[in-house]
Each structure stands twice: as C-alpha cells, then as structure tokens.
C-alpha cells in the first residue's frame, strides 16, 4: 500500500502530522534537555514511534496527545541516561550582562538555563505549563501525577526562579 492509499484508507497523514507537531515535540525535548542535537534525536525517535504505531492512532487530536506524551517520556528517559554527566548548577549560570526587559534575549536564555537545572519533574511541569500552555489538570493527566503535585512544582519553581533572578539583579521586585 502506498503512503497516499494509506491516508485515504486510514485518514493517517504522517507528513501532515509531523508538520503540525514537529515544533511541539522538538521543543519539549529541547527545553527539557537544553541540547539541540539530543532534542532532534528524540523528536525523530518520537515520530518514528508514531509511524510504527500508526494503526493505534484514532484521530488527529489523539495523535497530538500521543506525541506530547511520548515526547515527555523520551525526554525524561534521555535526561536519566545522562544523569552521570556533570551538570550545571543553578549558581553556575552566568550573570546576564544587562538588566532584563520584556522578551530580552539574554533574560530568555538565562531563564532557559535556569529551568534546565530544575529537578526532572518540576522542569517538565514548567515546560508543559509555559511552552504548551497546559493547565495543571492537563499536566497531571499527561505526567500521571496528582494535580496538587503539579501546582506545588509550579509554585516552588516560580519562587526559586524569581529569587535567583532578583539575586542576580535581573529584575527588582
């Protein structure tokens, strides 16, 4: 069966799904790992996994949910695999040169690097909240953890980031 015949029979258009979701899948891995090459490997692996499991996909919405869930799992797995490698501590993140203004690229990079140093679960919660704009119950469902834990991770991570940024003089309260 050709790819086109497959689309007609099953409604599964692999190329279209990849165009629609590639940025989401890549960015979940990239923001979680802060490593472009590994993020691309994970994204490729996620889409190949979708291709292998295309028979189980019921709709485009289901594909989106499936891709996000698998991207989260693969990013966490990759992070665990490289746990032995030396990691950058929060205090080692370089000070920004200038004070941040809204959408300041330096502040954005500082934030991404600070997020990359958060522990696994709160890091993924922050990415799903601010990259994917998911609410706590959606994050809880995706990560299979209680909603209360999601809210707690969000509050603590925000407080920690705020404290680090204020200490660095990025923004006054």
């Amino acid at each position: 069966m050709t790819e086109l015949e497959g689309v007609v029979q099953t409604g599964f258009d692999f190329a279209a799904l990849m165009r629609e979701h590639r940025a989401m899948v890549f960015s979940v891995a990239y923001h979680f790992l802060h490593d472009r090459d590994t993020a691309e490997e994970i994204a490729q692996d996620v889409f190949l996994s979708l291709h292998r499991n295309r028979g189980a996909i019921q709709s485009a919405a289901h594909a989106g949910f499936w891709l996000r869930k698998v991207a989260v799992q693969r990013a966490i797995d990759a992070s665990r695999k490289r746990m032995r490698r030396p990691q950058v501590a929060m205090d080692d993140v370089p000070e920004p040169v200038a004070r941040g203004a809204p959408a300041d690229p330096m502040l954005g990079e500082t934030l991404r690097r600070l997020i990359a140093t958060l522990p696994e679960a709160p890091r993924m919660v922050m990415i799903l909240r601010y990259q994917e704009d998911l609410d706590p119950s959606e994050i809880a469902n995706l990560m299979a953890i209680p909603v209360g834990t999601v809210k707690s991770h969000l509050q603590r991570s925000l407080a920690l980031l705020r404290e680090k940024l204020v200490r660095r003089g990025v923004r006054e309260e």
């Binding site: 890549f26 490729q44 959408a103 954005g108 922050m126």
Partner: protein, 93 residues
C-alpha cells in the same frame, strides 16, 4: 500573570527543528517500513512457520536418503543372490 510568567512564555516558546528534520524522519520511516509494518505477533508466527517448515523439509529429505539407501541395498542383495543362484546351477551336474 506577572512579569516572570510572561518572560517564561517568551523564553519557552516553541522552536523549529533543523530544516531537513522532516526529510530525515520520512527517509528513516521508509527504511524501516518493511520490518516495522509487521506486528510482533505476526513476525513471531512467521518465524515459527519457517522453523517448522524447515524442520519438516529436513526430515523429509533425510527420509528420502534413507529410502534410497534401503533400495540400493536391496538391489545389491538381489543381484548377489542371482549370481549365487547362477553359480549353484553351474556347479550342479
């Protein structure tokens, strides 16, 4: 939403992978398709059939060889018996 949450949304906005990403994935999916299109249970069943079929074929082949050997032995025995019978006839007065 406060300034930090605004900054986080900016910092964590989605990014695109490299331009050749899609082509690489489609090429990799194409390479894997013949193997990946078969469900694991079907692959296992095919392997069992191949092994069983090969075993049956081997046993059949061995049976044929044994049959040939028996037939050859019978032919040799028959010809020897004939020769002995001819010699006995010649010896008799």
């Amino acid at each position: 939403m406060d300034w930090l949450e605004d900054e986080l949304k900016q910092a964590l906005r989605r990014k695109e992978p490299s331009p050749d990403f899609e082509a690489r994935v489609i090429a990799a999916a194409g390479r894997r398709r013949p193997v990946l299109s078969m469900p694991p249970w079907r692959a296992a069943a095919a392997a069992v059939l191949v092994i069983t079929g090969a075993g049956a074929g081997y046993r059949h082949h061995q049976g044929q060889i044994a049959k040939e050997q028996v037939m050859q032995a019978m032919r040799l025995t028959g010809s020897k018996l004939n020769r002995i019978q001819m010699q006995m006839k010649a010896v008799r007065p």
